[in-house]
Amino acid sequence: MTPENLLNIAILITLLPLLSFLINIFFGKKLGKVSSYIGTTIMGIDLILAVTVFVSKVFNTWSEYLVQNADKSLTYLASDAMVQLKYNWFSFGRLNVQVGIGIDNLAAIMLVVVTLISFLVHLFSTEYMAGDKRFPRFYAYLGIFTFSMLGIVIANNFLFMYSFWELVGLSSYLLIGFWYEKDSASNAAKKAFLTNRIGDLGFFSGIMILFFTYGTFMYDEIFGKMATGLIPFDSGTMLTVAGILVFMGAVGKSAQFPLHVWLPDAMEGPTPVSALIHAATMVAAGVYLVAKVFPMLTADALLVVAYTGAITAFIAATIALTQNDFKKVLAYSTVSQLGYMIMSIGVGSYMTGFFHLLTHAWFKAALFLGSGSVIHQMHHSAHHFHDHHTDPQDIRNMGGLRKTMPWTYATFLFATMAISGVPLTSGFLSKDGILAGTMAFGNLTGHWLIPIIGFSAAAMTAFYMFRLTIVSFHGDFKTKIAEHTSENKFVIVFPLVLLVVLSLWFWYSPNPFDANAGWFAHKLAAPKTAVPANLQWDFLLTEEQKTAYAEKTSKAAEAKANIKEALPATAEGTELHKEAVAPEANQGAKEAAATESKAVGELGHQENDLAKASEHKAEEVKTEAHTTETAAVKEEHKTGEAAVAAHGATTHEAGNAHAEAGTHGGGHYVNKFAEEMHHFHVPAMILSLIIAGCGIGFSFLMYQFKLFNPDALANSLRPLYNLSYNKWYFDEIYQATIIAFTVGFGKVLAIFDNKVIDGIVNLTGWFTKLVGHITAIFDNVVIDGLVNLLAKVTSLFGAMIRKVQTGRVQSYVAFVIIAIIMLVYFLK
C-alpha cells in the first residue's frame, strides 16, 4: 500500500461513522430497526479498513518509500515514521495555518481499538437497546461519537485534535444523557460536559502558548523547533507550564484526579455507551494525547503527570473496594486503570502505558459489556416480577448468576483475571511492564512513592474485581430476580467471547512473562524527547542528545570564561591608554577569546569523532560511567554551581569520560531508563504476582469462603470505610467549595447583570433605536421634505413619515445634485 492510499483509507475510516450518523439522524424515523443494521454494517466495514491500515502501517517498512517522496506534500517524522499529509488551510498575512492527518504506529493501533470496540458496541446494542423509543437516534449518536474519536486518532496537529476533542465532549454528552427523562442521566451528562470543559480550558491555553511560540499546530514542527532549542518565552518553566496545560485536557477526558468525578456518574448512560466511552475511546483519548505530546513534556511536567496518575490510581482503587453498584465498581476501576496508564507515561515508560491502554480496552470492554449482559437480564427479570423497587444493578441482589449465565460468567471471570494481572493474560504483561517502569523511575529519581502506590493499587484491583465477580456470580441466588435470569442471545455473547480471546497473551508476545519479546514493544518505541537536555530527566536522553548538550554548554562556558579573562586586560588597557588604544585592546581581547573558543571547539569535535568511532566497534559493553559523568556535568550546569573556572576541567573530564565510555562501548538500550527497566523486570513481575495473588486470595477468603466477615471488618475500620464508600467526599467537597462559590458568584453577577449590564444594553438598544429612528426620519422627512420645500413649502409637515420615498423621483434627482455640491464644497 502506498502512503497516499494509507492516508485516504484513514480518512475514509474516519468519515464512515459520520455517514452512519447522517443517515440515522435524518432518516432514523423511517428506518426504525434498520438503522442498527446500517450502523453495524458501516462499523464492520470500518473495522476491516482499520485492520488493513494497521497491518500495512505497523508491519511494513515505510522509511525508504518516504524518503523517495520527501519532496512531495507527504512528509514523515523520522523518529516514528509517521505518514502524514499537510494541507494549507488558509493564510492570513504571515500566518499560515496548516491542518492534516498523520498515521504513525500509535494511531494505526488506536484505529483498530476504536473501530473494533465501536463495532462490538453497535452489535451488542442491537439487542440491548431493542425497544427503546429513540433507537435510531442512539445509533446516530454512536456514529458521531466514533467519528469524533477517530478524528482525534488521525490528527497530526493540535488544531484538529482540539476540534475533535470538543466533538467527543459533545457526543459523549449526548450519549450519557441519552435517557434524558431521568434527572440523574441529564445531570450526569451536564457534569461530564462541564468537568471536561475545565480540562479543555487548560488544553486550549496550552495549545495557544505553543502556537504563539512556534507559529504552527503541527506536532512534528513544534517538536522539531523545540529540539533546536526554541522554547516558549525562552523559559523552561513556561515549557513545563505548556506541557501541564496540555495535560489538563487529558486530566479532564481521562478522568484523572481531581477531575475524575464525572466518570462514575456517567454510568447513567446506557451500558453499551459505558463500554464504548469508558473502556476504549473517550477516556483513552487523554492517554493518547499524553502519548502524542510525550516528546514535549519536561522532567517537571512528567513528574506532575506521574503523580497525577498515581494519585488517581490509588484513590479510585480505594473507592472501588466498597461500592455495591455493579457499574460503579467498574467505573472506579476504569479511573484507577487510567491513572495507571497516565502514571506509566509520566515515569517515562511510554510503551507500557500505551500497551496497557490497548489491553485494558479489550478486557474492560468485556467487563462492561458483561455487566450489560447481566443488567439486561436483571431488568427483564425484574420486569417479569413487576418489581420496580429492587435495584437491578446492585450486586447484593445478584449472586449465583454463574448457573444461569455461564457464558457471561466465564468471560467475565477471565476479564477479571486479566485486569487483576493473572499470568497468561494480556493484563499481566502490560501491568507488569508498568510496575517495572515505576520501580525503575523510583530507583533513578528516588520517587519510590510511585511504585508503592502502583503495587498497592494492583493489590486492591485484584481484590475488588474478584469481590465483584464472587458476590454477583458465585454462591446462591440472593433474590428471585437473579434466579429468573437466563443467558443472553448470540449478539450479546459474541462480543464478550471475542474480547476475552483478545485478552490472551499470545496476541502481543510469544512469551507470556515478557512483553518485550513481542511485536508491540518493538513497534512502539518511545519517541525521542524534544525538550532541551537541561529540562529533561537525564535518563530519558539518548547518548547523542547528551553529547550534543555537553558540547554546547561547555563551548558556551569556554567562550564566556575567555571573555571574562580578557575583560580585566581590557580594563587595564583602557586605563593606560585612555582614548585611542582602548578600542584596540578590546578588539584584541575579543579576538583572543574567539580564537581560543574556536580551538576548544575543534578539540571537542575531534574527541567526539574518536568516541563515536570507538562506540561503533564495541557495542555490548555498558555506558554507565559515561552517563553518570555527563549527568554530573549537566547537574552542575543546571544548578549553576559550575563556576566559570571549573569549566575547563569539567569539559576535559567529560571529554575523557566520553572517550573512555566509547572504548568500552555503547549500550543497546535507547537510554538509561530502558536499561533500568530491564533490570527491574523480574523483581517487578515476582512482586506483582505475589500482590495480585494476595488480593485474589483475600477476596476469596472473605466473600467465597466467608472466613472473615466483611461487615465486621467495615465496622472496625469505620472511618476508612466511610471515606471509601462516600468516594472520599469529592462530590460533597466540590459542592461545598467550588460549586457553591461559583453559584454564589453567579448570583452576584446576575444581580450585576440585571441591574447594570441590562441597563446599559437597554440604554444602547434604546439609543440605537433612536438613532435608527432619527436616520429613518431624516431619510423620510428631511429628504422628502427638502424636495417638497422646493415644490410646495406648505405641505412640508404632512403625513409623510410613512411615505417612504414614494413617487417623487424629481426629489431624488434634486437631492443628488445637492449632494454633489455639498461633497465638492466640503472636500475641496
Binding site: F90, G772, A776, Y812, V816, L827
Partner: protein, 509 residues
C-alpha cells in the same frame, strides 16, 4: 494568419484590431448568444411558457465561461479595453450571477404567472451581461460611459418587466429618470476631465496629470461627478435613492441581479478609475503600498465619506423595513458601504479584499433573494409579518434563509465572516481605525434586522406548522447549491483568497 503577415500589419490599426479580437472571444460569445436568443424566441413565440430562449442563454453563458477560462491577457482596441486578471475576476462574478439569475427565473411565478412573453427577458439579461463585461475591462471614458448605458438600458426594461403591476412600471419609470440624470451628471464629469487633460484613455489622463498642472477644483468636480455616476450603479449613499423603490418594484430575480452583478461591475470600474487615472504607481510597489494620489485630491476621504454614509443609512433604515425586498435593498446599500471601505484603503490589499467580499456577497445575496422568491411564489407576499411560521411550514426555506442571513451579518463559520474579515483587516492595516470601528458598529446594527427575518420564521407562528410548503426537488437542489458555498467558503477560503490576491493587479497601459 502567418507571422509574416502579422509583421507587415505591425502596429497598424488593423493589426491592433486583429490582435484585439483574440482577447474579445468571451464578449463575442455573449453577442452571439444575444442574437441566437432573439432568433430562438421568434420561433417559439406562440408558446409563451417555453423556456427555450432561456436555455440558449444558459448554453451561451457556458460557452462564454469556456472562453473566459482560456482568455489571454492584454490591452486591446487601441488601449480602450483591458483584459487583465482583475477584469476577468469581475467577469466571472457577473457571469455566474447572470447564469444563476436565469435559472432563478425559471421558478418565478411572478414572471410566468401572466402568460408573459419571456423571450426578451433572457435576451436583455444577456445584453446586460455584455455591458457589465465591457465595464469590467473598460479603460477609456467613452467606453465606460457606453458600457454603463448598455447595462442601464437593459436594466430599465427588466425592472419593469412585469408591466401590468403598477409598482413595477412605476419603479421602472423612476429608474429611467434617475438613471438618465446620473448618466448626464457623469458625462458632464467626463467632458470636464477630457477638457482638463485632453485624453479619454485612463492611462493618458494619468500621464497628463502626472506631468502638468491642472486646476484642483475642476479635477475634483469632474471626479465627483464621475463617481456620482458610478455611485448610482453601486447604490452608494447619497446616490442611492432609486434603490429601495426599484428593488421593491422589480421582479425578485431582477432585484437580485441588480444587487449583485451591477454592483460588482460598478465597483470594478470605480477601482479601475481611481487606480489607473488618479494615482501614481512606482515599480517597487508591494500590495500593501498605498497608491499615491495626484494633485492632492483626497479621494480616500471622498470614498470613506460615501462608505460611512452608505453603511450607516443602509443599516439604520433597514431596521425599520417591513417588506423583505425593501429590507434587502437597504441591506445591499449597507454592503456597498462595507465594500467601499476596501476602496478607501487605496492599495491592492484592499482591492483583493473587495474581490473576496464580492465573490462571497454574490452567494449570500443570491441565496437570500432566491428564498424570498420561493416564499413569494407560495404565499404571495414579501411582507415580514407573513414570514411567521415559515420555518415550520418549510424547514428547508427556514434553515436556508437563516444561513444566508447569518452569512450576510458576517458571523463565523459562514462565508460572510471571511469577507468582512478581509475587508476589515485591509482597513486596519492601512491605519484607518475610525473607519473600521464604524464598520464594526454597523455590522452589529445589521444583526438586528437580519435576525428579525429568521426570528419571524422560527419563533413566531408555530401554529401554522399544519400548512406545510412543499418544495420541488429542483428547488431543494438549488438551495443546497447556494448553501454550500456559503458554508464552504467560510471554512476553505484559501483558494478564493489566493485567486483574489493574484487578480488584484491591473494592467495600467
Amino acid at each position: 494568419m502567418n507571422p509574416e503577415q502579422l509583421k507587415i500589419l505591425g502596429s497598424s490599426f488593423l493589426g491592433d484590431l486583429l490582435k484585439s479580437v483574440n482577447l474579445f472571444y468571451p464578449e463575442t460569445a455573449l453577442v452571439v448568444t444575444f442574437l441566437l436568443a432573439i432568433l430562438v424566441d421568434l420561433f417559439t413565440r406562440n408558446r409563451p411558457s417555453c423556456k427555450m430562449s432561456g436555455y440558449v442563454s444558459l448554453i451561451g453563458f457556458f460557452v462564454t465561461a469556456i472562453f473566459l477560462c482560456n482568455s489571454p491577457q492584454g490591452m486591446s482596441f487601441a488601449g480602450t479595453y483591458a483584459v487583465d486578471a482583475f477584469s476577468i475576476f469581475f467577469k466571472w462574478i457577473v457571469l455566474i450571477t447572470s447564469f444563476v439569475i436565469i435559472v432563478f427565473s425559471f421558478f418565478s411565478k411572478e414572471l410566468f404567472g401572466e402568460e408573459r412573453q419571456m423571450g426578451e427577458y433572457y435576451t436583455l439579461i444577456v445584453g446586460m451581461t455584455f455591458g457589465m463585461f465591457l465595464l469590467s475591462g473598460a479603460t477609456n471614458l467613452i467606453l465606460i460611459y457606453l458600457a454603463i448605458e448598455t447595462m442601464s438600458m437593459s436594466s430599465y426594461i427588466l425592472a419593469g418587466y412585469t408591466k401590468e403591476i403598477k409598482r413595477a412600471s412605476e419603479a421602472s419609470l423612476k429608474y429611467v429618470i434617475y438613471g438618465a440624470t446620473s448618466s448626464g451628471i457623469m458625462i458632464y464629469g467626463i467632458s470636464l476631465l477630457f477638457g482638463l487633460t485632453g485624453s479619454l484613455n485612463l492611462s493618458g489622463i494619468n500621464a497628463y496629470l502626472a506631468g502638468n498642472n491642472v486646476n484642483h477644483i475642476t479635477l475634483l468636480i469632474s471626479g465627483i461627478m464621475i463617481i456620482a455616476g458610478i455611485g448610482y450603479k453601486i447604490s452608494a449613499v447619497p446616490f442611492h435613492f432609486w434603490t429601495p423603490d426599484v428593488y421593491e418594484g422589480a421582479p425578485v430575480t431582477i432585484t437580485a441581479y441588480l444587487s449583485v452583478a451591477s454592483k460588482a461591475a460598478g465597483f470594478a470600474i470605480l477601482i479601475r478609475l481611481l487606480n489607473s487615472a488618479f494615482t501614481i504607481h512606482a515599480a517597487g510597489d508591494t500590495i500593501n503600498t498605498a497608491w499615491s494620489v495626484m494633485k492632492n485630491v483626497d479621494w480616500t476621504m471622498i470614498i470613506a465619506v460615501l462608505s460611512v454614509l452608505s453603511m450607516t443609512l443602509g443599516n439604520f433604515v433597514a431596521v425599520w423595513q417591513t417588506n423583505v425586498k425593501r429590507l434587502l435593498a437597504y441591506s445591499s446599500i449597507a454592503h456597498a458601504g462595507y465594500i467601499l471601505m476596501g476602496v478607501a484603503v487605496m492599495n491592492y490589499t484592499g482591492v483583493s479584499a473587495i474581490m473576496i467580499y464580492l465573490a462571497i456577497y454574490m452567494f449570500m445575496n443570491l441565496g437570500a433573494f432566491f428564498v424570498v422568491m420561493i416564499i413569494a411564489n407560495h404565499i404571495d407576499s414579501e411582507d415580514l409579518e407573513d414570514y411567521q411560521g415559515i420555518g415550520y411550514r418549510s424547514p428547508w426555506l427556514g434553515v436556508a434563509m437563516t444561513i444566508f442571513m447569518v452569512s450576510l451579518t458576517g458571523l463565523p463559520p459562514t462565508a460572510g465572516f471571511i469577507g468582512k474579515l478581509y475587508v476589515f483587516t485591509a482597513v486596519l492595516n492601512s491605519g484607518m481605525y475610525w473607519l473600521a470601528v464604524i464598520g464594526v458598529l454597523n455590522s452589529v446594527v445589521s444583526l438586528y434586522y437580519y435576525v428579525k427575518v429568521f426570528r419571524n420564521m422560527f419563533l413566531r407562528g408555530a401554529e401554522k406548522a399544519n400548512q406545510p410548503i412543499e418544495l420541488s426537488l429542483t428547488v431543494k437542489v438549488i438551495l443546497i447549491a447556494l448553501i454550500i458555498p456559503n458554508i464552504a467558503l467560510g471554512i476553505w477560503f484559501g483558494g478564493l483568497v489566493n485567486w483574489a490576491n493574484a487578480s488584484a493587479a491591473m494592467i495600467l497601459k
